[in-house]
């Protein structure tokens, strides 16, 4: 359904006297993956590694994007405005912050209806019915329609945001850390909602997160990002049972399990993610990798196929 090929997003930082001057921040630096209908791809990585940027680029929100994004066979990045508008109906984005993603000045009902108006869907009554239907779908009721966003809790807002995204009947939704800001109990509610909707509406998700246990729970396939590159990608079970990249391993072992009896090893990885403005040479992870050798510092590893659905970019062959 979605195919991403060698996607690059380089932001220009700072302005020089001359137009071409300035540094480039390589937020996303050549990543490729694909998602099938009804599938969920999880995207994990440390803060600042380019997850959100990837999400945005796929939706055609960043003019800095280079490479190819094919959605149902259509080239997104080179598309004209009008074409983009129709594609927008099929692709949606749900943000992390349930407090910031609703216009505080619009009543919920109006916010939902507006989307329908913009896409010229139905007449007044039909729209009204649709809005109510949407609210029901996400477990809210129509009394809520005449309220303003601030009258809702975080969990409820996230439901509204989901309802708004669903209004245009999308086929594909990017969830950018959609549950990270929520409490565990609310988080599980939203995860369940998203899963239910996926089943009911046959949705496809790109699920961005940094909590591996949540991503794992949610996704069919997981891609691990580090400094703008995908270092490993596999089916989620496979990735957890059989991580090949040292970074994936480090991430996995940093996840703390809610079990006091396990003696959890806290000393998994040293140092911090380097600045994407000045990424390390060679394998970008070599500065923190305990296996790193001279080669890692010089040569960028190619993505290898471990098996049909498992890819890794590392010079070592870890088992």
């Amino acid at each position: 359904m979605l195919e991403v090929k060698d996607l690059k997003v380089h932001f220009r930082i700072g302005k020089g006297l001359l137009p071409k001057q300035g540094n480039y921040l390589k937020a996303v630096d050549g990543i490729s993956f694909d998602i099938k209908y009804g599938e969920t791809l999880g995207l994990v990585g440390e803060s600042g590694c380019g997850k959100s940027t990837t999400g945005r680029a796929i939706l055609g929100l960043l003019k800095e994007s280079k490479g190819e994004v094919l959605f149902e066979g259509k080239q997104l990045l080179t598309m004209k405005k009008n074409g983009l508008k129709t594609v927008r109906k099929d692709m949606q984005l749900i943000f992390q912050d349930p407090y910031a993603s609703l216009n505080p000045r619009l009543k919920i009902g109006d916010a939902l209806e507006e989307v329908l108006i913009v896409h010229k869907m139905g007449n007044k009554e039909r729209r009204k019915a649709r809005v109510e239907e949407l609210m029901e779908m996400v477990g809210l009721n129509k009394h809520h329609l005449s309220r303003y966003p601030h009258e809702f809790s975080g969990g409820q807002r996230q439901r509204i945001v989901i309802a708004r995204a669903l209004a245009v009947n999308p086929k594909f939704i990017v969830c950018d850390e959609s549950v990270s800001a929520l409490d565990v109990s609310v988080q599980s509610q939203i995860i369940n909602l998203l899963e239910r909707l996926q089943e009911e509406l046959n949705l496809t998700y790109l699920f961005i997160g940094h909590d591996l246990s949540v991503v794992n729970h949610f996704s069919d396939k997981i891609a691990v990002m580090y400094l703008g590159k995908i270092v490993e990608m596999a089916e989620s079970n496979e990735l957890f049972e059989n991580p090949r990249h040292p970074y994936t391993r480090a991430l996995l072992s940093a996840v703390l399990l809610p079990d006091p009896e396990l003696m959890q090893d806290l000393s998994v990885i040293e140092g911090e993610i380097p600045s994407p403005l000045y990424p390390p040479s060679g394998c970008r992870f070599h500065t923190r990798c305990k296996f790193a050798t001279e080669k890692c510092a010089q040569e960028e590893p190619l993505t290898r196929k471990v098996d049909d659905h498992h890819f890794v970019a590392c010079h070592f062959n870890l088992d």
Binding site: S153, S185, S188, H217, L251, S253, E270, E272
Partner: protein
């Protein structure tokens, strides 16, 4: 068990809301002993931070106040101390680490300046000695090239670094109690692990007691000796760490634990507690968890359960 160094009894802290005082922390009692780590968990808004701030007596004056109870630290009620005496306790014998590493450090002073300030405030040392101590402390929290860092400003450090600095600042006077309010929530998992390790290491060296606030059960499992579960300003369950995970008793605790996605069994549908936390001011009589509880009965609606002991845990529920 040792004599507790901090004993809180019936602490109530309230905030003004339209001239009314509404309690955010309601009759909370617990104690911490030397070297012990007590974790406080609970949903957002349940009063975890307010409890911590109450201990430090840092509730903003215009917003609210401590309306009752005692906070006895080493035999002395902190609430009765004069401002001056309280200052001598803060940062020295009891210190605190906050959640947001980005904002807890003053952006216009160097790391060194802020560290040394604490040292010189509480210890009778010269500037040079303070500097040495600061340097030593930065080394202890594993900050690379510490001498250089002393001259740097907070914004020049990454989030994880800053949090280390904050911890260094909290521990530099070798406090007997460290209050840590979600010190790792804003950090990446990898950094979180580093910070937790660091705290565990330092604690074992100094025998500092820690009050650790979090809502991440994984963090609790990795650090806690004792766990307090709060809900709506109340303690609903309190016991040692193992018991909480193995044998949670309060329906809220049970729900909380079940809501966490497990890596081991990813495909299963997640459990979730229905409904949401009642807003402050909307708390009805009876059990505060009644609206979300699956075991709710008439009794729960009428009367709030007391915190009673059950199999080594303190639980606030009629159903056990």
């Amino acid at each position: 068990m040792e004599e507790p160094i901090l004993e809180i009894t019936n602490l109530t802290t309230s905030f003004y809301r339209k001239k009314e005082l509404l309690p955010a922390v309601d009759n909370v009692s617990f104690s911490i002993s030397k070297g012990q780590t007590v974790c406080v968990v609970g949903e957002s808004g349940s009063g975890k931070s307010v409890t911590a701030l109450s201990i430090m007596r840092l509730i903003p004056e215009h917003a609210g106040k401590i309306t009752g109870g005692e906070i006895v630290f080493k035999g002395k009620d902190l609430l009765k101390l004069s401002d001056k005496d309280m200052r001598a306790v803060r940062g020295n014998r009891v210190s605190m680490v906050f959640q947001e590493p980005m904002t807890t450090l003053n952006p216009v002073f160097t790391i060194g300046n802020q560290l040394m300030e604490t040292i010189m405030m509480h210890q009778n040392v010269t500037k040079k000695e303070a500097m040495e101590k600061a340097l030593e402390m930065l080394k202890k929290v594993n900050i690379p090239s510490p001498a250089q860092r002393l001259q740097q400003y907070p914004h020049q450090l990454s989030g994880g670094m800053r949090q280390r600095v904050v911890i260094a600042m909290a521990l530099v006077c070798k406090p007997e109690l460290l209050v840590a309010d979600e010190p790792t929530t804003a950090l990446d998992v990898t950094t979180q692990a580093q910070i937790l390790k660091l705290m565990n290491d330092l604690k074992s060296q100094t025998e500092t007691a820690v009050l650790f606030i979090t809502h991440n059960m994984g963090v609790v499992a990795a650090t806690a000796d004792k766990v307090i579960v709060m809900y709506c300003g109340r303690i609903v369950e309190c016991s040692d760490a193992k018991t909480i995970f193995k044998d949670p008793k309060h329906p809220y605790t049970i729900g909380l634990l079940k809501s966490i996605p497990k890596i081991a069994e990813p495909q299963k549908k997640l459990f979730s507690i229905k409904g949401s936390v009642p807003a402050p001011g909307q708390i009805k009589k009876g059990c505060r968890f009644q609206s979300r509880c699956e075991l709710v009965t008439e009794q729960c609606r009428l009367e709030e359960p007391p915190l009673i002991e059950k199999n080594g845990s303190l639980v606030r529920c009629w159903q056990i």
